[in-house]
């Protein structure tokens, strides 16, 4: 049932970003053909074997044009806006200038909606758009490229530092809405930036599809955070596809707390002596299904990759981690380290974890460690022996397990937001936030 989306989008075609640009129409047409042939991924696709996304076929989610946007509770929105940031807000997949705050950003930096970037800097966008994604792979990239409505374009000139983090706030306002956006973040040689993608929505069922292409030029560094706080009925498909040039640094941290069904891809290709650091914390309750899929390709020698994903799963929640590391034949002296730890709080919770190392070089260091377990009795006893009751001890240890990831956040407003979210989502009796 892939045709329902092509019919829905046929009516909106003129409102999609860059609809007058022939090169983009061509890209969209290629993607559309690919999607109509293949559809959304199936369980028989190896990289999707744990996550069933057939709901996207069975249920028609509806894209909306920028004239049909739903109502936004401003006070609620403001509570998710981070202090000391540039803010760009996307509502139901469309840029909202009135809700955004980009005034005063340096001339050497472009931060704009994809619609505006395609108007004002079409050649620049053209040099990046679609370059980091492989449409032939199973996934949602073809769907996204065929019909993305808008998105964000960030370009930081060489040797420029974005003075404040940029928060891209994705909001979905109404039930059954499909927000489908495409983003490009491009850092010139020696540039530095921090970008935070925040996903929120109304309390209903809706769908978000978001693809971010990242280009980190030589010796540049991007820190990209994702805060996924979608409604607990939502479907979320997000992907970050990265090209890292020599000596570049890319750090990604995914806080996946929301959605009924969530998937995040982080794929990166590493050039010589570049470094990636991928982190994730997923918290699942009730029937939430949260999937993290990473693929790191060491293309050239001396690159370093680090991964740490932690999950806390309660009730009937299911967490999935698939970590694939590919070391090409010429990528000697690769240093790769992958860890995934899962804490199960209920007998009915499930963690599926699958590290995959494909090593074609012979002089490399590749480590991985995977655990799935419950709270450690020794640690509970250690706390009890200091006068702390068992329930509080369990809460503290559960919190502590998650807090290891929270504590990695150096940007204070984000740290505060994530800490609050973690505390709200898990039992917190006996935990004193003021002292953390």
């Amino acid at each position: 049932m892939t045709t329902q989306y092509s019919e829905a989008y046929a009516k909106l075609e003129n409102s999609l970003a860059g609809s007058s640009l022939s090169w983009l129409s061509e890209l969209r047409t290629q993607a559309k053909e690919q999607f109509l042939e293949r559809g959304f991924p199936r369980l028989s696709d190896e990289e999707w074997r744990y996550s069933n996304v057939s709901v996207l076929d069975k249920k028609a989610f509806s894209p909306v044009s920028d004239s049909e946007l739903g109502h936004i509770d401003i006070a609620d929105l403001d509570s998710y806006k981070l202090a000391d940031c540039w803010t760009l807000v996307l509502v139901d997949g469309h840029y909202s200038a009135s809700l955004s705050d980009l005034d005063g950003i340096a001339d050497a930096v472009i931060v704009s909606s994809m619609v505006d970037a395609l108007k004002n800097h079409p050649e620049k966008v053209k040099s990046y758009l679609g370059q980091a994604v492989d449409l032939k792979e199973a996934g949602f990239k073809a769907f996204n490229q065929a019909w993305f409505s808008d998105g964000v374009f960030v370009s930081v000139a060489a040797n420029t530092v974005l003075d404040k983090p940029l928060q891209v706030l994705h909001v979905v306002t109404s039930a059954e809405v499909l927000a489908n956006t495409h983003h490009v973040i491009a850092l010139g040689t020696g540039a530095e930036a921090t970008v935070i993608e925040t996903f929120i929505g109304c309390a209903e069922r809706y769908a978000t599809v978001s693809v971010t292409e990242v280009f980190v030029e030589k010796n540049a560094g991007l820190s990209l955070y994702k805060t996924q706080l979608e409604s607990d009925k939502a479907v979320h498909l997000g992907g970050v596809y990265v090209k890292q040039a020599r000596d570049s640094r890319f750090k990604h941290t995914n806080f996946a707390f929301g959605s009924l069904l969530a998937r995040t891809d982080v794929h990166t290709d590493l050039s010589q002596a570049s470094e990636c650091d991928l982190n994730g914390l997923y918290l699942g309750v009730k029937r939430q299904h949260i999937d993290n899929h990473t693929r790191i390709t060491h293309v050239e020698p001396y690159a370093i990759s680090k991964e740490l994903y932690k999950g806390v799963l309660n009730d009937k929640a299911r967490g999935v981690f698939q970590g694939r590391v590919i070391v090409a034949e010429q990528a000697q002296k690769t240093d790769s380290d992958m860890h995934n730890h899962n804490l199960l709080l209920s007998d009915n919770a499930e963690a599926d974890t699958k590290p995959q190392l494909e090593i074609y070089a012979d002089d490399v260091k590749c480590a991985h460690g995977i655990t799935v377990g419950q709270l450690d009795d020794k640690s509970i006893f250690a706390l009890q022996s200091r006068g702390i009751d068992e329930e509080t001890a369990r809460n503290m240890l559960t919190f502590a397990f998650a807090n290891e990831m929270v504590n990695k956040i150096k940007f204070k407003p984000l740290h505060e937001q994530i800490l609050t979210q973690v505390l709200e989502r898990f039992p917190q009796a006996g935990i004193d936030k003021a002292w953390l």
């Binding site: 450690d376 009795d377 020794k378 640690s379 006893f381 250690a382 706390l383 009890q384 022996s385 200091r386 006068g387 702390i388 009751d389 068992e390 509080t392 503290m396 240890l397 919190f399 502590a400 397990f401 998650a402 807090n403 290891e404 504590n407 006996g430 004193d432 003021a434 002292w435 953390l436």
Partner: protein, 249 residues
């Protein structure tokens, strides 16, 4: 302070302690020495309430109460403190958070208000200095990445802050170099007073050069087979545990 009478303890079907009798009056330091497998650690675990041990016979009376009937946290709140042989690492919980949570749990139990944040910090900083630890330790995750010596010092820091009545030191000296041992011993000696008792479990006589016990006991095959003054430890060091076991046999 504590009175252990005819204590028999099993792990599964296997008897480990086979009738331990021990009285520690307030203010005294008792050392328990003994070969591996004698039941030293079992004794410390049973006294602090760790799961996995079955008391098949005997009793432990602490300050007039049946200690074995209390949950581990209640024992702690009543003043029983175990310095672990292998302190656990707790990533994600800072040392200062644990110290404060523990102290407040004790205070609440005794009907006192939560400790004032500023007073607490001043107090903790004083104690940490006495143990020659860096203040940065307070903000690091509990025992994570600590060296063996730092972990043991951290246990003593907890004791110094919680001010227990009965301290069990389970091989607190094992694995320490001489400098670390001196610091830990200094910390323990600073805690000695007429109201506080200690049970020191150790393999090595060396500890007793720095913390002089009132009584030394030898535990072998689940029983205390010999008790004496500090000189007993020296004799043990010279003659080996074999000597005691032979005397008993």
């Amino acid at each position: 302070m504590i009175s252990i009478k005819n204590l028999h303890v099993s792990v599964g079907d296997k008897p480990i302690l086979k009738g331990v009798n021990l009285e520690i009056p307030a203010g005294e330091v008792h050392a328990i020495m003994g070969p591996n497998g004698a039941g030293k650690s079992t004794l410390s675990h049973v006294l602090s309430g760790k799961e996995g041990y079955t008391v098949t016979e005997g009793s432990v009376t602490y300050k007039g109460q049946d200690l074995l009937a209390l949950e581990p946290e209640m024992r702690a709140r009543e003043g029983v403190f175990l310095a672990f042989q292998y302190p656990v690492e707790i990533p994600g919980v800072s040392n200062i958070y644990l110290l404060k949570a523990a102290l407040n749990a004790m205070r609440k139990h005794h009907g006192k208000d939560e400790v004032d944040a500023l007073d607490f910090l001043t107090m903790v900083k004083g104690k940490i200095k006495a143990l020659e630890m860096d203040e940065k330790f307070l903000y690091r995750a509990v025992n994570e990445g600590f060296s063996g010596g730092e972990k043991k010092r951290n246990e003593i820091l907890q004791a110094a802050i919680l001010e227990p009545s009965f301290c069990i030191l389970d091989e607190t000296d094992s694995g320490l170099d001489i400098d670390a041992l001196k610091v830990v011993s200094k910390g323990v000696n600073a805690l000695r007073d007429e109201a506080r008792s200690f049970l020191m479990i150790t393999h090595y006589q060396r500890l007793l050069d720095y913390i002089t016990p009132d009584v030394v006991h030898v535990l072998a095959d689940g029983k205390i087979v010999k008790s004496g003054g500090p000189e007993l430890a020296l004799e043990l060091e010279a003659k080996g545990y074999h000597w005691v076991e032979e005397q008993v046999a």
